[in-house]
Structures are given as structure tokens and as C-alpha cells.
């Protein structure tokens, strides 16, 4: 047994002996089939590693880009209570990004590399964050619908085959519950308020409903990565399955809010035991993915600017740490020679 330090664990996959790939791959397949978790030092197929990096990076990027639309309203929150809640939520999103970046780093991809790719537009984030937050009610609609869709997606990820990703998701899902409930409570307050407030809540739901359904990704027959991800048990349910689950959960929740969902085709299907719903505008989804959504440019520009403007803070922290280490070393040497 060779002693390796924990931060070298990610490279362990490269240690595999020549010609033993078949046996290693069989062991990997068996572990996945038996519903065991793959851990960083285990051998894994290159494509599995690459697929995880792609998905976890996109997930992490979504968390930190997702801070922007909501942060837009912090300074204009209608009360101190709402402001404190919104700050806590945006802070959580930053935290979720950090959990996911560190989980991605266990696969041997550095954080700077991931950020560089985001800034260069070479890795994606969820298309939902390319829509603007036009009114205060949008903060509620995001909490209820966007975080609700995220939870529907993320709960099965807690059983994902890659250990560090699954563990990060457990942490995140626990925290998401507050996000969704504060949004729902906010919308309920507006919905029961003045006619103008009610209308504002309804307008926000009208704008966020369809983009939220798109968060589950393209239909199963058009999803590029789905089948392989399901075989590897990175994904546990198909996009359409999760989308249906989300619709069925939302319908009674909307009724309790006293708000309607903007879909004339939405109705209970007795035979299926599920709701039928209208066709999603996948052209719009593709356009937003291509970079032509209402806020794509703004989100990336802001992200790059935040990164550049934060450079002096990172430099200062390193300079301080170096100075501190030098002082300590000098003090210790002084003691030794005294």
C-alpha cells in the first residue's frame, strides 16, 4: 500500500496498470450495478470522469450565477425581515457553489480551470438565470418555482453514483428547503395582499413557469447525455419524468396560493393519474442556451467583473499569509538560536 496524501487522491486513476483495464472496468461496472458509490481514488472510465466534471461544473456555475438575479433585489427588499432572508439565501447559493466546486476538484480538475471555462463561455450554467428579475414578486417565484424545480432535480442526485457529488447534494438539499419555503411564503403574502400585489405575484408566476419547466432539460428523446448518465447512475430519472413530477407537485401548491399557472392545456388526466400540460417552446430554450436570452451577456459580464475586481482581495490574502508565515518562522528561529 503506497501512502498518498488526500489531495493526490484525484490522480489515483492514472495509477492503473497497463492491460488491466478490462478487470478495472468490470469492477467499476459491478460497483455501479450494486448501487455502491464510486469514490475519488477508485478507477473510473475517462468518459465517466469527464461527464461528471461537465455536470458538476455546470451545477456549481449555476449556483454562483444564480446569485445575480436575486441579489438585484437585496437593496430594494420591502422590509428588514425580507432583506435579511434574501441575503441569507444569496449567501447560501455562494455556499452551494463552493460545495460543488470542491466536489468537482476531487476529480482532478482545478477550481481556477473551471472558473476560466465559465468566464470564457466554454462551460454552461442553467439557462434559467438568463431571465431578468423585474419585480419583487420574482424573488418569490424564483424561490417557489426555480428552487422547487432544482429540488426535484437534486433529491435523486443525493443517490448519485459518485460519492463526493452525492454528499454535496445531501447538504444542499437540506438547505434548499428554506429557499423554497421563503419564496412560497413571499408569494402567498403578495397574493393575499392588495389587488396590485396579487397581480404582481401572478405576473411573476406567468413569466417564471415555462422557464422553470425547461430547467429539467430537453425531452428524453433529444437529450444528448441522458442515456449514458442513467446507465452510470449519475442520473436516476429521466428529464421528462422529473418534469412531470414537478408539474404534479406545483398544481395544488398554486391553488393554495390563489394563483394560476399560465397553461390553458394543464389538466388532470384521470387515466394517467398525472397532469397533462402544454407544449414547451424548445426553440426559446435553444436560443437562451446559445446565448441569446434576455440576460446572458449581463450575467457573464458581471461574473467576469466580480472576478477581476476581487483579484486584489485574493492577492492581499496571499500577501498577508506569506508575511504571517515569515514572521512566525523568524520568531521560531530566534527562539532556537537564543
Amino acid at each position: 500500500m503506497a501512502a498518498v496524501t488526500a489531495d493526490q487522491t484525484a490522480q489515483a486513476g492514472a495509477d492503473r496498470p497497463e492491460g488491466a483495464d478490462g478487470a478495472l472496468e468490470a469492477a467499476f461496472d459491478a460497483a455501479v450495478a450494486a448501487d455502491e458509490r464510486i469514490e475519488p481514488r477508485d478507477w473510473m472510465p475517462d468518459a465517466y470522469r469527464a461527464s461528471l466534471v461537465r455536470q458538476m461544473a455546470q451545477h456549481a456555475h449555476s449556483e454562483i450565477i444564480g446569485m445575480q438575479p436575486e441579489a438585484n433585489w437585496i437593496s430594494r427588499a420591502p422590509s428588514l425581515r425580507r432583506k435579511a432572508i434574501l441575503m441569507a439565501k444569496v449567501q447560501d447559493e455562494a455556499g452551494h457553489g463552493l460545495y460543488l466546486y470542491s466536489a468537482a476538484e476531487t476529480l482532478g480538475t482545478g477550481r481556477e480551470e473551471l472558473l476560466d471555462k465559465l468566464h470564457a463561455g466554454r462551460q454552461r450554467y442553467s439557462s434559467i438565470f438568463n431571465y431578468p428579475t423585474l419585480t419583487w414578486a420574482d424573488v418569490g417565484a424564483i424561490g417557489w418555482l426555480v428552487d422547487g424545480a432544482a429540488i426535484t432535480n437534486q433529491v435523486p442526485l443525493c443517490r448519485c453514483s459518485y460519492g463526493p457529488y452525492a454528499r454535496a447534494m445531501v447538504r444542499i438539499c437540506k438547505e434548499e428547503s428554506f429557499h423554497q419555503r421563503q419564496g412560497y411564503e413571499l408569494l402567498l403574502t403578495l397574493s393575499k395582499g392588495t389587488p396590485a400585489q396579487h397581480e404582481m405575484a401572478q405576473d411573476a408566476v406567468n413569466r417564471w413557469w415555462w422557464p422553470s419547466l425547461m430547467m429539467f432539460g430537453p425531452p428524453d428523446d433529444a437529450s444528448a447525455h441522458s442515456a449514458q448518465s442513467m446507465t452510470w447512475k449519475i442520473k436516476r430519472h429521466s428529464n421528462d419524468e422529473l418534469r412531470q413530477r414537478f408539474v404534479d407537485i406545483c398544481v395544488p401548491q398554486a391553488e393554495a396560493l390563489g394563483l394560476t399557472l399560465p397553461d390553458p392545456d394543464l389538466r388532470w388526466n384521470e387515466e394517467r393519474g398525472q397532469h397533462d400540460f402544454g407544449a414547451i417552446d424548445w426553440k426559446e430554450f435553444q436560443e437562451v442556451l446559445k446565448g441569446n436570452g434576455p440576460c446572458n451577456e449581463q450575467r457573464l459580464t458581471q461574473r467576469r467583473r466580480a472576478h477581476e475586481e476581487g483579484a486584489w482581495v485574493r492577492d492581499a490574502a496571499v500577501a498577508y499569509a506569506e508575511k504571517h508565515t515569515a514572521t512566525h518562522t523568524a520568531a521560531r528561529n530566534g527562539e532556537a538560536t537564543a
Binding site: 441569507a88 419555503r181 401548491q253
Partner: protein, 96 residues
């Protein structure tokens, strides 16, 4: 570390099975990392308690100070709104 000839102390973390994170099991003395790993295996996983072990030199662990416990963790103390139970949801509404 003093200049004594005693072997350094290592903290031992054991992953009990795949899918769970390594958790602290205890510590032991060993002359180097490799011996620490072997000793940890013999000391902490004699009954197959683990599938993976980490050892970390105890001197490398930076810990928060017990004296500062209150002020250090105080910022989270007055933020009940970080918990889902802070929010009132009408009775009967499910999946929230």
C-alpha cells in the same frame, strides 16, 4: 513538536463504507505516514470497520479555540430564518 525522540502523532479518519465521508476515529503515534497508515489499519479497522483510511499529522490540524466558542459561532445564532421551520405554510400544502 518538541525535540524529543517520540514518534509524531497522527489523526486517523476512516471511511466505513463507500458513499460515506471519512470520519475521525482517533489518533496514534508512528514514525512516518506509511507506518501511520499500517498502524491505523491494525488499530482502527481490525473488524473491517473501514474501506479507506486517511492519516494526518496532528500538528497540521488547526483548530478553533474553545475559549472563543461563543463569539466565533455567534453570527449564526440570531438567524432563525435560515431554517425552513421559520416559514408559515398553510396546512395541507405538500412537498414544501
Amino acid at each position: 513538536m518538541s525535540s524529543s525522540t517520540e514518534w509524531p502523532l497522527w489523526e486517523v479518519f476512516v471511511r466505513s463504507r463507500r458513499g460515506l465521508s471519512h470520519t475521525h476515529a482517533g489518533s496514534l503515534h508512528a514514525p512516518d505516514a506509511e507506518m501511520a497508515l499500517r498502524n491505523a489499519r491494525d488499530l482502527y479497522t481490525r473488524r473491517s470497520e473501514g474501506v479507506s483510511i486517511w492519516v494526518v499529522p496532528s500538528a497540521q490540524v488547526t483548530a478553533s479555540s474553545p475559549d472563543e466558542k461563543d463569539s466565533f459561532f455567534e453570527p449564526a445564532g440570531d438567524k432563525p430564518y435560515r431554517h425552513p421551520t421559520f416559514y408559515e405554510i398553510p396546512e395541507g400544502v405538500k412537498h414544501l
